[in-house]
Each structure stands twice: as structure tokens, then as C-alpha cells.
Symmetry: C2
Subunit: 139 residues, 2 copies
């Protein structure tokens, strides 16, 4: 297990970071979460200014839930938190990359990551099975 830990960024240093990021007209930006040491892509979700600021200050990943219209502190109900290891963004400033230490599984289906649909022999196939019963995560 890596000891990598993000160095929290105090609130007063957030503005130049937020100014480097381009948000959609809804004030959102897509964020890719990647397990920092294995390179596994865990999930993609959305952030707004407030969730980025909370994530940078706390070192624990907080997204913006578009479906619920509120801050989504990843793992708040399931316990499957993401501790931030590195916070990056791309050349155009319109996509974030969060290197994280994922506790448990990232996907609400109980799978380690969300990208389990694939094409095999020209057909749609599920290529990973749940590691945890979702009822255990949210029960």
C-alpha cells in the first residue's frame, strides 16, 4: 500500500487553480479518477468549483452529483472513499485527472471500477464481476 498523500491546499490558494479550469455553462468540469499506483481508471464524474475547493482543502474527493443536484462526498454512504494523491488538469483546462487511493470499490455496482462493458466477438459483454454486494455498500 502506497503512503502517497496529497498535500492539502489552503482555501486562499484555490483561486489561481480554479481560474485555470474551464467550466461548462452549467459550472461543471468532468473528472477522471485513476488509482494512483496501478493506473486503473476507476470512474468519471463531474465537479464544480465548490467540490474542487472542498477536495483540495480536505484531500478527500468530493464530486458534484448532477442527478441529485448536490455535493457528492464519494464514499459518504458506502465508506468507499477516495483519498486524493494528485490533482491534475489537461492542456485545454476542461478535464480533470484525480490520482487517488481508492478504498474498496469505486463502482456503485460493487465492481472495482465502472468500465466493465466491452465488445467481445462483436457483441456487448460484461467483463468484470462485482467484488462486493451493492446491498452491503448501501444497505
Amino acid at each position: 500500500m502506497s503512503e502517497a498523500v496529497f498535500r492539502a491546499v489552503p482555501i486562499e490558494a484555490h483561486q489561481p487553480i480554479l481560474n485555470s479550469i474551464k467550466f461548462t455553462s452549467d459550472g461543471l468540469v468532468p473528472a477522471i479518477a485513476q488509482q494512483h499506483d496501478t493506473g486503473e481508471i476507476l470512474m468519471m464524474a463531474w465537479m464544480n468549483r465548490e467540490s474542487i475547493s472542498e477536495t483540495l482543502a480536505s484531500g478527500r474527493v468530493c464530486y458534484w452529483s448532477r442527478s441529485r443536484g448536490k455535493l457528492w462526498r464519494k464514499g459518504e454512504s458506502s465508506g468507499q472513499v477516495q483519498n486524493l494523491v494528485d490533482f491534475r488538469w489537461d492542456c485545454d483546462g476542461d478535464t480533470l485527472l484525480l490520482l487517488v487511493e481508492q478504498k474498496g470499490v469505486a463502482c456503485h455496482t460493487g465492481r472495482r471500477n465502472c468500465f466493465f462493458n466491452a465488445v467481445r466477438d462483436g457483441e456487448v459483454r460484461v467483463v468484470a464481476e462485482p467484488e462486493v454486494d451493492p446491498d452491503e455498500l448501501y444497505g
Copy 2:
């Protein structure tokens, strides 16, 4: 160098795949490109039905350029093509993951990947340098 190659999917098999994917009201879906053997996240771009279909049929990645409003055959002008190794999508069907073999560099700045902006000591920093002169790519 890996020998991994995507098995092209004939056009007549595309509909069930496209039906599994949720597009925005603009008919787009975000696609993460990851180097298949190292796990490096190269870039994020957008695809529409037509670009997905071309990618599946040809095994060479084609995006939809939102700024130019047309198909964007990655590497068409720069030579930095992406050969598809695996095509995946997530639990909600609203994000794609393309495992690729990137030829050369993925970023238009000449860097291997687009995610070179980071926070160091509370400040915005560029953490990767270009490997190729962009003028050589597009000159």
C-alpha cells in the same frame, strides 16, 4: 511493443453497442484514451455515433471535434494515430474508455499526454515538458 490489436467490429453489429451508450442532447459522449499497457491517461475527447462506428470498424480512433464541428481522425494531420486495443464503457453508459496504442505523443503541445498541469506547494505548475516540437507535428 505490444502486439495487442482490436478485432474490428463490422458495421451491422454496431447498433446494440450504440444502444448501450447514453449520448448528451448534442449527441456526444466523453471518451477517455488510455495507453493500454502502461495505464497512462493520454487525453479526453468526445465522440458521436458516427465517430464510434468508424472507430469500431477501422480499429483506428476517430473523435468528434466540438470546436471544428466535424469528425476528427486522431493523427490525421500529425501522424500521431491511436490504434484501438479495447473499447469499453461505464456502468451508466455515459463515458467511454478507449484502450489504445498511441503512436508518438497524444497532446497537441507535443507532450505525451494532456494532463501536465498540477498543484505543487499550493501553486499551479506544469509537470511535464514537450517531447516533440508542435511545429514539427503540424508544420
